[in-house]
């Protein structure tokens, strides 16, 4: 079974295996709940419409990145900038980013190839819990005090978590292999 999986992975790539498994799971569930099919399609349509503009922005960034090449100020910052500066950049980037995180992975990988560590990327992932456009709604539900404390704690912990992951990575050999 593992050998078949390995062969398939080498031939078509892991991403296609993931899609095939997801489609199979989806079809099996639909088979048992045929009446839910229109609603599921509606969910898929809604999510796709929501992520499409963000996907466009991500790939526009990637296009510009590729077009600018390696000799520009931003690339220099990513490869030569200090750890704290890059950390602040990724936290800020995390806060302003919107949409689901899996859309941003491709761009994050590109940034990693240009000099960011994965541990900067974990700060990005953590800082995403702070959603500035959602502030008015959050204040309406939980009050200004809670919203401010919530955002402040998350901002601090995004930095702490990134440093902790970095520390673990440097000191546990198993993670580096």
């Amino acid at each position: 079974m593992f050998l078949v999986y390995q062969k398939l992975k080498d031939k078509i790539g892991w991403q296609w295996i993931f899609l095939i498994i997801s489609v199979l799971v989806f079809l099996v569930v639909v088979l048992f709940h045929l009446q839910d099919f229109p609603l599921l399609i509606q969910y898929i349509g809604q999510t796709s419409l929501k992520i499409f503009p963000i996907l466009l922005v991500v790939y526009l960034f990637l296009f510009l990145f590729s077009l600018l090449g390696t000799r520009n100020k931003f690339q220099h910052f990513l490869s030569q900038g200090s750890y704290p500066k890059k950390l602040i950049f990724t936290v800020f980037f995390g806060i302003i980013s919107s949409g689901p995180i899996y859309i941003w992975y491709a761009l994050l990988k590109k940034l990693h190839q240009s000099g960011l560590t994965w541990w900067h990327i974990s700060a990005f992932a953590y800082a995403r819990a702070i959603k500035i456009p959602m502030f008015p709604i959050m204040i309406a539900y939980f009050g200004l005090k809670f919203t401010l404390i919530f955002s402040f704690v998350l901002l601090v912990l995004a930095l702490v978590q990134s440093l902790l992951v970095d520390f673990l990575y440097r000191n546990i050999a198993f993670l580096r292999k």
């Binding site: 991403q15 899609l19 989806f26 599921l40 590729s66 995403r128 539900y141 809670f146 404390i149 993670l175």
Partner: protein, 143 residues
């Protein structure tokens, strides 16, 4: 000459970007399909009716980490959990885990960053959701 060079560069960059998109599309589509199933079949309403709120916090963290609903939905459910003065911890854990941890997204995260990184990051984010929840609860009562 410069114009032609630039044109070639644009063509190369466009090709690279489209290849990247084609490579990533199966992952995005797979996650969308699985999320549709979660949106339809997983409901967390029962958490608001639970008597043991410590257990509910743990459960909230686990369940939210496998879901990916939009922020407004999570605000509505979290606000129904109870008074912020008393259940601030539960509500905070709920809101944080939803965004920072994603079990459904682990295959995608592993594809880009490697399995070890994906598991370590999600595990830490899961634990940090509790720490953050407690700090928020504490600070809320101090100020």
């Amino acid at each position: 000459m410069i114009k032609q060079d630039f044109r070639q560069k644009i063509h190369k960059s466009r090709k690279q970007t489209l290849n990247g998109l084609l490579n990533n599309l199966p992952i995005i589509l797979g996650v969308i399909l699985l999320l549709a199933l979660f949106q339809k079949y997983i409901s967390f309403d029962f958490l608001t009716q639970m008597q043991n709120h410590h257990f509910a916090v743990l459960l909230a963290n686990v369940l939210w980490s496998i879901s990916a609903w939009n922020p407004v939905t999570s605000y509505i459910i979290a606000s129904e959990m109870g008074n912020i003065e008393i259940y601030g911890f539960l509500i905070s854990v709920f809101l944080i885990a939803r965004v920072t941890v994603g079990i459904i997204q682990i295959p995608a995260e592993s594809f880009y960053f490697g399995k070890k990184y994906a598991i370590l990051r999600n595990l830490l984010a899961f634990l940090f959701a509790f720490l953050a929840g407690y700090l928020i609860y504490l600070l809320y009562h101090i100020f």
